[in-house]
Each structure stands twice: as C-alpha cells, then as structure tokens.
C-alpha cells in the first residue's frame, strides 16, 4: 500500500513561507510527478513527505495513519537522491543491504534479496566494488537497488536523473518506468524537466512558488491548461503567447502551440519574416518575426521549403487558448 494524503500542509524557513497551504491526494500505485521551475519548492515538498523536514502546519497521512510527526524511518518510504547519496565506505552489496540490516533481517534473507535486486538492476558483477569505482548510471542503479530491497510503501525520487548525460537519462527514464510497471508501487518523482514529467507520469502536479497550479494527467495538462503558467510550462517547444488585440480577440492574451500553426505563403493570421528555420528532417522549427507581436514559433512538417528571410504567413490550425490579465484560462 502506498496512499499519501497532504492536508493543508505549509512549510516556512524562518520567516519565508516556501509552501503555502497545500492539499494533495496520491493514490496507491500511482506515478506522480512534481514539476516546476527550480526553487519552486518541489524538493521541500518531497522532503516533507519523507519526514526529512517537519511541516510548519497541516497533516500528512500515509495509508490511513497520521505520519505528520513520524520519523523518516517510521514512514516506510524509500528515497533516491539527486546526488545518489551512496555510502562511500561500503561495497555495493553493503549499500543495498543496509536498509535490510537496519530492519534486522537475518543474513540469508538479506543475501537473497540483495542478489535479487542486483539481478534486476544489472549490478551482479559490481557487488564487491565501492561506489567510487562505478559510473554515474551504475551509481544511480545502486541507489535504486537500495530503495527497492525494502519493498517500501512508496518511492520518492528527487531529480534522480539530472546528474546523468542525455543519452543515459533517456535509458534510465525507461528503466524507472519499467520498474514501476513491475512493482506497481507508488512513486513520487520530482523534476524540473517537463519532458520527464510528460513521459513518466500518471499524474502531474505543476508547482509554481510552492502553489499547486494544476493537477492532472499529461494529456489533460496539455489540452486544457488552467493557467498561462501551466500552458507555458507543459509542451515543447513552448506555447506562443500573443496579445489578444493582435488577433481581434477580447481576451487579454491568447496562446497557440507551435504545432498548431501552419506556415503559408499567402494570407494567415500573422505575417512576418523568417528569423530562423531549423530543418530536423522529421520536423521543421520555424521562428517568425511578426511586427507588433514579436517572435512566434511554429512546428511544421519536415519537408517544407522555408528559409531565413522569407516573408511568410502563420495560419492557426488548432485550439486557441485564452487568458485574462491574471493569467487564468478563460
């Protein structure tokens, strides 16, 4: 079981409130991603769930039990840190065995579980090495191994992939997704990378300055963002924001995703000169300098023949999002 409820929790450091009153329900078995820009309070929120920080007010309920004041070790949660936080003086085997040793399991049982985890994570050949003798990806696997042997109620990940290079990051991402399918254990995953959030999550929690902007599935957030912030954060390349007046719209501002614009030679809602055209083969990213509006990005098919300096039109070919002065969706 791994059902976590946050009720009106707040967190202040000295006089600064980092998390204003916040409510959240995480269902058993769910893969929840906290996403938001750096400094928005993602790690703090995760650490509150872990028990590494105390809430300033509010309650945390784990599997029906009040865990607000429980020590980290009593919450039955496992955490994977951005820095891996492996024990440098212990072998890989001892690192993975540590939580089991703390739980007082006997030696045979520990050996069995460590071997099992090592096999799942391809670490069997490295069990006698120290963390210092491993690559970044292997260290990450050890950290995950240390988390899974305990069979926790939920896994907490704090930007676990951000120290890895791009190629490895994509690999580890799918490994973690596979692991979730296998174990079906609740996972709470923190990242600032919206691509990671979109590809991994069942449910995304978008945070902005400690406040939950929106909670929803990746596609819900993509199709019906509740605010300009969510609209701009989810989706790549980013949504274009254009003053309403530029399109004869009563809204303060309108938003159009780059993939919902067509580049045309005649007509179109906006016209301007091509500032850059990136031909990727599969897609072409076109940046158009529209007088009175600014730069507008479009993502169009790969074979289009547009080049720097061409005079083109942009035609809206999809939904238009409308926002008021406060950045709320209308």
């Amino acid at each position: 079981m791994g059902q976590i409820t946050l009720k009106d929790i707040t967190k202040s450091f000295d006089d600064t409130q980092v998390i204003p009153p916040l409510n959240l329900d995480i269902k058993d078995g769910e893969f929840v991603v906290f996403v938001g820009p750096s400094g928005c309070g993602k790690s703090t929120l995760l650490r509150l769930i872990a028990g590494l920080e105390d809430v300033s007010s509010g309650d945390i309920v784990i599997d029906g039990n009040d865990a607000t004041h429980a020590a980290p070790s009593e919450r039955g949660l496992a955490m994977v840190f951005q820095s891996y936080a492996l024990y440098p003086h212990m072998s890989v085997r001892k690192n993975i065995a540590f939580p089991l040793k703390m739980a007082g399991l006997d030696k045979d049982k520990i050996d069995e579980k460590v071997s099992g985890a090592a096999e799942v994570l391809n670490l069997t050949d490295y069990l006698e090495r120290r963390p210092g003798q491993l690559s970044g990806g292997q260290r990450q696997r050890v950290a995950i191994g240390r988390a899974i042997v305990r069979e926790p109620a939920a896994f907490l990940f704090d930007e676990p992939l951000s120290n890895l290079d791009a190629a490895l990051r994509v690999n580890m991402r799918s490994e973690i997704i596979d692991l979730h399918h296998q174990l079906k254990t609740t996972m709470v995953y923190v990242t600032h990378d919206q691509v990671e959030a979109m590809t991994m999550a069942d449910k995304i929690v978008v945070l902005n300055a400690g406040v939950i902007e929106q909670v929803g599935s990746p596609l819900e957030l993509y199709h019906s963002p509740k605010s300009r912030f969510v609209a701009g954060f989810i989706g790549s390349p980013k949504m274009n924001f254009i003053p309403g007046t530029a399109n004869n719209d009563a809204a303060f501002e309108i938003g159009v995703r780059p993939e919902h614009l067509l580049v045309v030679t005649e007509g179109g809602e906006f016209r301007g000169k091509v500032a850059s055209a990136e031909h990727l083969g599969s897609d072409t990213f076109v940046r158009v300098d529209v007088p009175g509006v600014g730069e507008v990005n479009a993502r169009v098919n790969g074979d289009i023949d547009v080049n720097y300096g061409d005079e083109v039109g942009l035609q809206i070919n999809g939904p238009v999002y409308r926002f008021d002065e406060d950045g709320l969706a209308i």
Partner: protein, 276 residues
Amino acid sequence: MARQQTISNKLVWTVLAWILGATIFFPILWTVLTSFKTEAQAISIPPVMFDFDWTFENYETVQERSNYSRHFWNSVVISVGSTLLGLLIAVPAAWAMAFVPGKRTKDVLMWMLSTKMMPAVGVMIPIYLMVQSAGLLDSKTALVIIMMLVNLPIIIWMLYTYFKEIPGDILEAARMDGASLKNEIIYVLTPMAVPGIASTMLLNVILAWNEAFWTLNLTAAKAAPLTAFIASYSSPEGLFYAKLSAASTMAIAPILIMGWFSQKQLVRGLTFGAVK
C-alpha cells in the same frame, strides 16, 4: 611552445620547492650532525659539515646527566592526554556545529579562533596563579588541561571542516534507510569521519609535543617534558652546543619518526577540503 613553457615552469617550481624544503630541513640536519661532534668541533670556525670525528660521547653524557625516559614519558602523557581530552570535547562540539548549525555558529567558530591570536604571555600570570592555587604546579594534570585548552580551537576547527565535507544527503539517506540516530553514527558517520579524526589527532599530538611556552613555565622537575629537557642544556652551564644538539635530537626523534610514518595521513588532513 606552450608545452615547453609548462615544462620549464615545472622545473622552476620544482627547484624552488627543493630549495625551500632544504632550507627548512637544514637546521634539523645541522642539529643532528652537531650532536655527533665534539664541543670544540661544534663551534669551530669555519664550521665543518661531515668531515669530523664522529662520536657518541654527547649522547652518553646526556644520558648520564638527565633522566631522558622520565621526560619522554611526561611528553607522551601530556601530548596524547591533552589530545584525547580535547577530542572528547571537540567531537560533539564539531558535530553540533557542522550538522545542526545555529545562527551564531560562524561567530562562535571565529571567536574560538581569535583566542589563538592572543599572545600566550598575555595570560601567563592569571593562568600561573590559577594553577598555583589549585596546587597543580609541576603536575602533568595541569599541563594536560592547559595543552588541551590551548589546542582546542584548532581541534574543533579541523574536525568542523572535516564534518562539513560529509554530505548531509548521505546522513539523510541513512535515516530514510531506517537507521536510528545511534546506528547512523556507528555505521555511517564515524566510518566516514575516522580519517579526519585520525589526522586531527596526529597534528595535535605534534603541536602539544613541541609546545614550549607553557611546558617550560608551569613545570620544574617532576612533570617536565622533553622541551624542558632540551632547555636544561641551553643556559645554566654556558653553551655546550654538541650536548644541546644531542638532547634536541633525542627530543625530536620520536615525533619525527611518528610524523614520517603518518605523513600521508597528515598531508591529507591538512589539505582536506582545499583539494578535492
């Protein structure tokens, strides 16, 4: 071109380092050489370097005239005792400052260091009087306590910088892994801190061993360590350079040997945090 420059650069630095090293080492070498000369050769002008009649007579005289082993034992008790006592106080202090810092932690650290900037003579009289009224003049107890207090700021600072280097994440990971505070300290903190504690200990044994101001001023005969043993050959009987050198050599030999065998640990300790 650039490569050549770095090579000649390296050469210049190497030569400079060797000159500096030799300059620092020369007095020690000279002392050791002089201890094997006769008194006449020791003060002969021009001085002789190696070309003299090697003799052990200085060592024999020194052995006959004073009790080396008692001084040696006093030095061991004072340096090791004060270091252990210091660690007992400094380890919890440094833990607290490194892992649960308060608003004033930095100020406390600076204040402790500032006490080292005061010349020892400045507090000579009050401390002498305090030791006297406690009836502890010429006792090892007094010196263990005074040496501990003198070096405590350094011990705390060294341990603090060590503990600071232990990533908080690792301690938190242990907590998440179900370790109690006791197990966290036994299985995670201490093994990672042992190299730091060891080099702090080594350095402070050396500092206390070589300390001369308090050891000379607060002891007479019973508790006098090797520093007093050397000093006894300097003034009262006129200058006997060869015997003084023999006494010095005997006094510094133990610590030099210890330092030689633990130099790796010491260098690591002193540069810890500076080079990663």
